[in-house]
Assembly symmetry: C2
Homo-oligomer: 251 residues x 2
């Protein structure tokens, strides 16, 4: 009596006898978190310097969780990588055309996260300059400004306000994991420059850090921290009611 | 003519009609990279102060890739999380008993990484103090010292030398990804203390950084970098032919 599997005389003999249908198998999906920072429009409809941090969501048009808002995604084909599936689904679900840099965030694996079957989701993340994103606008594809307080999300678009329960599946958890990763990454990598214009003032850069970190920074300390990441150009930002400021670029 | 899926009047009606067997499905596995740093034994069998960075591998006892060395792992059950599977397989494949802290590293998804079927592997990683690890020693479970030069691995145990081609599946790639992640993490997190004894000299801590980073550090610069992570105790390390050194602990 032994639990040892039946032995074969060669790997090819083993493989010829391998029947994958004998085993329970899950499904594997991707979801793609696209984050951006952009200028707000104030309540009086004037574009302001105040920035907001936002995420691209799509409204589900089928069961399960029909009509809920979700992170663009879907099942991975048997003959494509997770990254290829992420690009394909970002195009088909959110209309995002053209290459954006995606990185793997985390694989979500709660046993009951999808009512259809066991579904793993390999979440990916992108941080972009919204001005560089080409996508087909639709009422079912929208940017939502993000606020995260006491572990709860508050997502607002021009005409909608969502909280955790308005999101499909475990997507509130995926968004929070992405925010947490981003907060770590902007402190130790150059990822923040993916969503900055080519030239920017240090004040603008600091605003982007503050909006992602969700807290105010002290200008002198901030400038020391990023001193070795940026270099001054010979240009100045003038006008718009501010003192002239030197424009910087990524070193 | 439309590609729109058939619509249902409720989610429960949709779910009752959902037949997962209509879809191609992959398999999902975990692998667990266990890294440690330990004192070397010199060629003349004297234990030295020189440390080495090592990984725990198991020899495969079945097809595919029978007899090759591999990162402990296996398939995830339909009713367990990836983390639970990682702990279960670390015990059953490598005999590791008791809790060690695991974190998700990356999900490997190359289309042909396993000859049986499409297999995703959610790799996990642990960094441990080998003295705290309880495992049943076996000739098929061994620690290998790691050298990584020009993108190639050289893994050595007491009686074996392995290179990339001696490892099962894409496990050489997984080990390299783990080393890269670890090199990033020890610079910006406290992960290094997971494999340090409670009290240590700054020289010992520097040795651990150097062995993981694979390069020498300048003592003065190193001490500035870790100054806010450690605190001096009132104890000294004496004897063993060295000048007495203050023992530190994690702050």
């Amino acid at each position: 009596m032994t639990n040892k599997p039946k032995r074969y005389s060669s790997e090819s003999e083993f493989l010829a006898d391998y029947d994958v249908t004998k085993f329970d198998r899950p499904s594997v999906a991707v979801n793609v978190l696209v984050f951006s920072v952009s200028n707000n429009v104030a309540e009086n409809w004037r574009r302001t310097d105040k920035k907001s941090f936002s995420v691209l969501l799509v409204r589900r048009d089928d069961y399960p969780d029909i009509d809920k808002w979700s992170i663009p995604g879907g099942f991975i084909g048997m003959q494509e990588t997770a990254l290829d599936a992420a690009h394909r689904l970002l195009r088909s679900k959110a209309g995002v055309v053209g290459g954006i840099y995606l990185e793997q965030l985390y694989t979500f694996d709660d046993i009951d996260r999808d009512p259809r079957t066991r579904v793993f989701s390999i979440a990916h993340m992108a941080l972009i300059n919204k001005a560089n994103l080409h996508y087909s606008g639709s009422h079912d594809v929208q940017w939502f400004d993000i606020e995260l307080a006491d572990g709860k999300l508050l997502l607002t678009s021009d005409d909608l306000i969502l909280t955790d329960k308005d999101l499909a599946f475990d997507h509130a958890k995926i968004i929070k994991t992405g925010i947490e990763r981003l907060r770590n990454k902007i402190e130790y990598t150059d990822i923040v420059f993916d969503m900055m214009p080519r030239e920017f003032t240090l004040g603008e850069l600091q605003q982007v850090y503050e909006i992602i970190l969700g807290r105010k920074l002290i200008p002198a300390a901030f400038r020391r921290t990023i001193a070795n990441k940026v270099v001054a150009t010979e240009k100045m930002r003038t006008g718009s009611g501010h003192r002239p400021s030197v424009l910087f670029k990524k070193k």
